[in-house]
């Protein structure tokens, strides 16, 4: 069992290690490992304007997606949670899961069909790109929130706050939002990780000037290998950072709810 586990870990880690090695290698062509050592490729990243633009686009898309997800997701989750009828809650959950079940490619083709029409000529625009990311990531936030509302007994907290004299607005902002702050944060980490790594939809609906970072990466691999490796390592570092922050927030949240 242990041997199998180690083999599997090597299998997982090998491509990543190769990428890291490749990003510091001078020449890498038709050999298992690159030759020579250089920081040249990282320097080249900073000089590449289309890469920097892609990076900025990704950051912008992630930020706006996160904000919209919270603004839509928190009230939606709240409405689903407080809706006492079982059937309505089930339907809500189902709808929130649909984008997860439907392949991104299908969604992207739908976007292309719909938004390349004369009536809705928005294909290639940033708002549409963001809208796509919202559709893809919102269910994850929604499900995190719904599960936590259950475990945190939000319904009881609200009922008690009501009995203590708190009207709807007080209850929502004094109790619901602060109680769910760790859940929102850990849900957003997932949202950010998904959004930053998202390729299929972005590749199909983004325009030339608002390509996201992963979309740019694909182009980069047509060029110098070392450059592409370095660019991928940057993305990887971001993902690892997001996962680390996510784990930290989840732990803090776990401690707070005892």
């Amino acid at each position: 069992m242990a041997v199998l586990t180690y083999l599997y870990l090597i299998y997982l880690a090998a491509p990543i290690l190769l990428l890291v090695v490749g990003s510091f290698g001078e020449v890498w062509a038709n050999s298992l490992l690159p030759t020579g050592a250089t920081l040249h490729w990282y320097a080249a990243l900073l000089d590449d304007s289309s890469l920097l633009r892609a990076f900025r686009t990704s950051l912008m898309v992630v930020s706006v997606t996160s904000v919209i997800d919270v603004l839509v997701g928190l009230p939606a989750a709240y409405a689903l949670h407080t809706q006492s009828r079982r059937s309505v809650r089930f339907a809500g959950r189902l709808v929130s899961l649909l984008p997860v079940a439907v392949p991104e490619l299908t969604l992207a083709f739908g976007f292309i069909l719909l938004f390349s029409t004369d009536a809705l000529p928005w294909l290639g625009s940033s708002p549409l790109l963001i809208a796509g990311h919202v559709v893809l990531t919102l269910p994850y936030l929604l499900n995190t929130l719904l599960a936590d509302m259950e475990t945190l007994r939000l319904a009881d907290l609200e009922a008690v706050a009501g009995s203590l004299g708190a009207g709807f607005a007080s209850r929502f902002f004094d109790i619901v939002v602060p109680t769910l702050r760790h859940s929102v944060l850990s849900g957003l980490i997932t949202v950010a990780a998904l959004s930053i790594g998202e390729f299929q939809l972005s590749n199909l609906v983004s325009g030339f000037l608002n390509r996201t970072y992963p979309t740019f990466l694909l182009q980069a691999f047509y060029g110098a290998t070392g450059f592409a490796c370095a660019a991928t390592v940057v993305l990887l570092s971001l993902a690892v950072a997001a996962a680390a922050i996510g784990a930290f927030v989840a732990r803090a949240g776990g401690a707070a709810r005892g």
Partner: protein, 354 residues
Amino acid sequence: MAIHFQNVTYRYPGSDAGVFDVDLEIADGELLVVIGPSGSGKTTLLKLLAGFLEADSGRILVDGRNLAGLPPHRRDLGIVFQSYALFQHMTAAQNVAYPLKVRGVSRQQRLDQAGLALNRVGLAGFADRMPVSLSGGQQQRVALARALVFSPRALLLDEPLSALDAFRRVEMRDEIVRVQRDAAIATLHVTHDLEEAMSIGDRVAVMHGGRMLQVAPPQVLYDAPVDRTVASFVGKANMWDATIRDAGHISTAFGMLSCDTAGWPSGSAVIALVRPERIVPLASPDDARADGAVLTGELRRDRFAGPIRRFEMALSETVLLGESGGYRGDIAAVQIPANAIRLLSPSTFNPSGV
């Protein structure tokens, strides 16, 4: 009357469960405990009063004011939940101060009042603790202080002790009574724990199948239950079908017993209720005292459990259940004192066809 349920009916949509035609009054300062098996409607009653549910018919008055249509936050009632429901992101003091905050009391004033309220429940020095660092009993005290700090018109307790372990439960039970007496507030306490209900209630209301069967002080409930259901719910009971023979005597399957038959005409069918601890064990029939039938039978079971000794004696077809505190001798016969027998009407209430 501080709280008054008048003919209140509520049926859960799409089911037969709910509460039906409930009439109940709770006086100022009275601690009334509602008890019943799960599904009996006791929590529904609390939710109707709190405003989490709205009655289909009937009225609920608090201090003479009809609560119909008022949302929970306008009813001015303090509620303590089984799950404590403390706000985890607030300190103990902030939790207690919250009802004052939403009422617009200034920050300093509300923290002062919260401090006093925490003192009253024995939590001085815990003001700055977060709920997660408090024990279950301490959290429940915070919840109690929070429910009382704004001087509500009534206190509602929804199984407040069932999340605590047995030892803390008894301690917290006394604490609730003390604080409730202190505040002299009309209190509706819902529980399924019989001992809890009997030991703290000024009066106890027994619910079954959504109906209020009897509301009475604990001792009356135990000694003079209105029917078979209440009798068996509030304690162990021997209940025998019997017929009034003449004034002062009833006949049963195992012979004649003497008891008070005032109010029952001869020949009417009754149920004779005898609590096990009222049955007197005897080493020999000759030990009998003056009053009450002496019966001999086969001792079926004899279990010593420390403070209590339980025995069963077979009298022809009937098995009699007895309990004794200090009796250590043989049991060859039993005596049933006349005043231990309580006659009930055999027409038992049959809630929703169960």
